[in-house]
């Protein structure tokens, strides 16, 4: 795999064909030295992206470092705890998308300009096609995969998935006896000072303050900015976004102060506090906003996706090792009911054994604290990733490729050695 291969044929220089022109252009892109440089840059990015997780949540890091074109790496990420370094001290660096695509071009160019398909090179072909597939898989995952939770108490059912990282403001019109009319505003629109107005909404909204993470104080005080609703008895304070997921199983809890005006009359409805704290997951605490003579229920909750099927939790078991608090096994015994597909079956979901159904995959993720609802319950992680199979394929390709490639060398080496 060296750059000295494939010199152009003599005479070709006078009238270069398209292919040779392409090779000439691609040659610098195909350089192995460039591969080494790019791989080294990847290492640095990954290394920094690891340190950054001390200060920022993993999803922030993934978005800023790995699923980005460009990243500003502040020196702060390496600082000892407590030390503060201004954020302008740092280095600019290409982000994960940039490096990924650069590697992809480098690899494709190398194959176009250098590699012929020979049986001896089969290993290299396998490895590289696997890596291309892997990079594409990660790209597709980054673009299309969604993650959410389904929380079900024992004996209860659920037919919607809550997105763990996206939130929405909801107005429910319950006046129809059969169907609730729901209007949702994604939390991404709730920016400080934003004015939101839409014919479908019963009110015009002015965002006084949106907090991506907050703490709730259940008392009235001078900090209490709401003039109506649940915010009269409590107030919220902004908190930094949760850092380092999973170890503490903490999630962000957004809240917002909203100033509402009646759509039709423009009448001032006051400042309201909406918060994820008001939603105990299964029975959201609502506040009633009356607009246009109709009562609406208003919530801020995790973005919901409704499914055509229902999962019923029949039983949930949680075993520990005797004499310890170390969990041994969590298990949800569920019944899956899907009228569209005529499915009605029982199954179990437990650690390392997910349920895959209609493109969604359900994993045993956590235990519902029985103190919240007075009942045991399960928290299922629900992932929809159209490209979930790609890593499996690509990894098989790469591993196989390495076996073939290094195997050919090893066998060759041992045979030569045996001869000598």
């Amino acid at each position: 795999m060296s750059q000295v291969l494939d010199a152009p044929h003599a005479g070709a220089a006078s009238s270069p064909s398209f292919g040779e022109l392409l090779r000439k252009i691609l040659k610098p892109v195909a350089s192995l030295t460039l591969t080494v440089v790019l791989l080294s840059m990847c290492m640095w990015l990954v290394f920094c992206g690891t340190w950054a997780q001390r200060d920022d949540g993993i999803w922030t890091v993934v978005r800023v470092y790995f699923r980005s074109w460009f990243v500003w790496i502040p020196l702060q990420i390496f600082a000892a705890s407590g030390a503060k370094i201004p954020s302008w001290v740092g280095v600019p660096f290409p982000g994960g998308w940039t490096l990924g695509f650069a590697l992809l071009f480098n690899l494709l160019a190398a194959h176009i300009t250098r590699f012929q398909f020979r049986i001896k090179r089969a290993g290299i072909w396998l490895i590289h096609s696997g890596i291309i597939l892997l990079l594409f898989g990660e790209l597709l995952t980054g673009l299309f995969a969604t993650e959410g939770h389904m929380v079900i108490a024992e004996g209860g059912s659920a037919n919607f998935i809550e997105d763990s990282r996206h939130y929405e403001l909801v107005f429910v019109d319950p006046s129809d006896a059969n169907v609730d009319q729901v209007v949702t505003v994604p939390a991404s629109l709730l920016k400080n000072g934003a004015k939101i107005s839409d014919p479908k909404l019963p009110v015009d909204i002015e965002v006084v303050q949106y907090m991506h993470n907050s703490t709730l104080h259940e008392e009235s005080s001078a900090q209490n900015r709401a003039t109506a609703g649940l915010g009269l008895e409590s107030y919220v304070e902004e908190r930094p976004v949760v850092s380092g997921v999973e170890t503490k199983e903490e999630e962000d809890r957004p809240s917002a102060y909203l100033h509402l005006r009646e759509k039709s009359s423009g009448a001032d409805l006051g400042t309201w506090l909406v918060s994820l704290f008001f939603q105990s997951r299964l029975q959201p605490e609502s506040q009633a906003v009356t607009a246009g003579g109709k009562p609406y229920r208003m919530y801020l909750w995790n973005q919901r996706t409704y499914k055509p099927y229902t999962i019923h939790l029949q039983k949930f078991t949680h075993d520990k090792y005797v004499g310890t608090e170390t969990p041994k096994d969590y298990r949800s015994h569920i019944r899956l009911v899907d009228p569209e597909e005529n499915t009605n079956r029982e199954t179990e979901i437990y650690m390392n054994t997910p349920l895959r159904y209609r493109g969604d995959t359900f994993y045993q993720s956590g235990v519902l604290d029985p103190r919240i609802l007075g009942k045991k319950g399960t928290i299922l992680q629900v992932v929809r990733n159209p490209s979930w199979l790609m890593p499996y394929v690509s990894c098989t390709l790469v591993s196989l490729g390495m076996l073939v490639h290094f195997g050919i060398h090893l066998v060759g080496f041992l045979t030569r050695r045996a001869k000598v």
Binding site: Q3, Y321, V420
Partner: protein, 640 residues
């Protein structure tokens, strides 16, 4: 020729006899005169969620408290079980109890010693009596530290907290809360602690007597003293009656009393007859517990540490004098040492019913094992005495690391629910750790390359080429293993929480190893580096691997943060600095290298490495070892 045969045979035999003796010699006398401690240490109990012999509980607790698995009374070494039984039967009101006087509490921080009014002394192990009157001071400090956020605590604060955990370990044993001593008395029943059962019985006894007498407990103090005394006696009798109804609890109480009151005949009778209480403990658990006592005694990894050191020294000597006999000796000594090492790994797998790697401790053991086996294979392929040394150093270093990692806890813990899968533990974890081992072996070869080349004339033309090939081959192997292992981890993650890649620190650490190995290979292929450059690069691989192995855990974040260990941060930093230093001296131009100076044009200008090498005349073997495979250099067969 004779020396080539006899030197290895004699040396290996001597070490072999030592090994057999050390493994099968009976344990430290019997500790306490006339007491059947050998029988007591076999008793199965439950601790940390698994059935284990009392011996393991004793050793673990003593190791946590004192840093060793034995202690001294005067000059005489004593087994941990003696201390543990003394603690379990300890009566704090008994001022003559030997527990006050055992020198087992290791306190080495001078500020902590100062607080407790202790003077530094050799071994830093103190008696309970030495500082039992300072507990209030200690508590005051603990109350203060509790309010300090963990990140802002000083070394002193942490050492105080550490002393507290040591005392807790002692108290846990003393309160009979842990381990669970009482085996199930019927099918379906769980193991229970003696403390829990005695408390329950005590409560029930009072209740029974009060009901029988028709008195409320609060009225007892108004009764005449005589009457109170009678009631107390009644309660005691009732208590004894209830205890007798639970044979295991009754026997344990008798056993501990007999031990405290120095009645060997009673003690030995109870120990000998204890097995009748185990009818509802599966045979498999009892067999494992019994085997574990032997395993503890044999301490195979401890023996390995010593033997690997010997092999490394002999291996290094073989570079200087008497090469072939010593090279063979080192090789066969490694083979001998690999036996207890392998036995230890298999024994742990049997006791735990798990694949070899389940925590950081076992990863160290396994990495050492992989490095040793790989080196033995290499030494067969390239008999130049280098892989010997690399393997022995790898085995020795990982034994030391394992010893330090294992000092804090039972090394055979139960697995968290998500890790409770033998399939992924045996595929992903084994593969990734073998990848670590291969990367370290490459790094060690790199270090040997630099040191031999720079400081000795030993890196002659053929050794130079062979070593280059070895490094190249190991890096290929490391790339394959670390990639496959990382990917299997991804697949496991996809199976358990639906995320093939989560950018978790440990995952990132693993991918760094893959990337680095890939960089080394590509740099070699494109001629950016030659043998020497590759050797230097593999040394950096040591830093990358140590980061992945330990560094990521030190960040204290992420899904794999199961082995957080702040204490090891300085060691890691020192290791990394040493590796950078080695890389630095590796960069000294070849003309200053003792092996190259003026003799070989080995360090050719980059870009056209292989052609240069081909043009050179065939090397004349200078090494005393016949080397004749130089022409098959992997690098000469540049992949096209």
């Amino acid at each position: 020729m004779k020396a080539n045969f006899f030197v290895p045979v004699i040396t290996v035999s001597v070490f072999g006899i030592y090994l057999l003796g050390a493994s099968f010699m009976p344990d430290l006398g019997n500790g306490k005169k006339d007491f059947d401690l050998a029988g007591a240490r076999q008793i199965p109990v439950v601790d940390g969620g698994r059935v284990k012999p009392l011996d393991t509980v004793a050793r673990t607790a003593l190791r946590i408290v004192s840093g060793r698995e034995s202690f001294y009374i005067g000059k005489e070494e004593q087994p941990a079980i003696r201390w543990a039984l003394d603690v379990m039967s300890f009566d704090p009101d008994d001022k003559d109890s030997p527990v006050w006087n055992y020198e087992v509490f290791r306190i080495e921080n001078d500020q902590v010693l100062n607080l407790l009014g202790l003077k530094p002394k050799e071994g830093f192990r103190y008696k309970l009596k030495d500082f039992s009157d300072k507990f209030e001071k200690l508590q005051a400090e603990l109350d203060r530290i509790k309010k300090v956020p963990e990140n802002n605590r000083t070394l002193y604060d942490n050492k105080i907290v550490q002393l507290k955990t040591h005392l807790d370990e002692f108290l846990k044993l003393r309160s009979l809360h842990d381990p669970l001593l009482l085996p199930p008395g019927s099918a379906g029943e769980e193991w229970r602690s003696l403390q829990e059962v005695e408390e329950e019985i005590g409560f029930k006894a009072i209740q029974t007597v009060m009901i029988k007498e028709g008195i409320l407990p609060k009225d007892v103090k108004n009764l005449p003293p005589e009457e109170q005394k009678r009631l107390r006696r009644e309660v005691q009798e009732e208590d004894a009656r209830q205890l007798a109804a639970i044979p295991a609890a009754h026997e344990w109480r008798e056993l501990l009393d007999a031990y405290r009151e120095n009645k060997p005949a009673d003690f030995n009778r109870l120990v000998a007859g204890y097995s009748k209480n185990l009818s509802f403990v599966p045979n498999r658990d009892q067999e494992r517990a019994s085997f574990e006592v032997f395993f503890n005694r044999a301490a195979p990894f401890y023996q390995c540490c010593f033997l690997y050191a010997a092999a490394a020294i002999i291996g290094c000597l073989s570079w200087m004098v008497w090469s072939e006999p010593l090279r063979r000796t080192a090789f066969w000594l490694m083979v001998l040492t690999a036996l207890p090492h392998t036995f230890g790994l298999i024994a742990r797998m049997y006791i735990q019913g798990r694949p070899p790697v389940t925590n950081l401790y076992s990863s160290a053991i396994f990495i050492g094992w992989g490095a040793v086996l790989g080196s033995l294979v290499m030494e067969r392929l390239f008999p130049i005495g280098i892989a010997n040394v690399v393997g022995a150093i790898g085995g020795f270093a990982t034994s030391i690391i394992a010893h330090n990692l294992g000092s804090g806890n039972d090394t055979l813990q139960m697995m968290q629910a998500v890790l409770d899968t033998n399939f992924w533990l045996s595929t992903h974890v084994t593969c990734v750790t073998t990848g670590y081992a291969a990367t370290f072996v490459a790094g060690l070869l790199g270090i040997v390359f630099i040191i031999l080349g720079l400081f000795t004339p030993k890196l002659d033309k053929s050794t130079f080429k062979l070593l280059g090939q070895m490094i190249y081959g190991v890096v290929c192997f490391a790339t394959f293993l670390s990639f496959t292992g990382t990917v299997l981890g991804g697949i496991w993650a996809d199976q358990s929480w639906g995320r093939f890649w989560g950018w978790d620190p440990k995952e990132n650490g693993a991918i760094l190893i893959v990337l680095w190995n890939a960089i080394v290979l590509h740099a070699r292929w494109c001629g950016l580096v030659q043998q020497r450059g590759m050797a230097i690069m593999t040394v950096f691989g040591n830093i990358v691997t140590s980061w992945s192995w330990f560094g990521t855990n030190m960040l204290g974040i992420g899904l794999h943060a199961y082995g957080f260990m702040e204490a090891a941060v300085p060691s890691l930093i020192i290791f990394d600095i040493s590796q950078v230093a080695i890389m630095g001296i590796g960069l000294i131009p070849p003309k200053h290298w003792a092996s190259f100076g003026g003799r070989y044009e080995v360090e050719t200008k980059a870009k056209e490495p292989v052609r240069e090498a081909k043009r050179e005349p065939k090397p004349v073997p200078v090494s005393p070892v016949p080397v004749n495979i130089g022409s098959t250099a992997v690098t000469a067969r540049r992949p096209r």
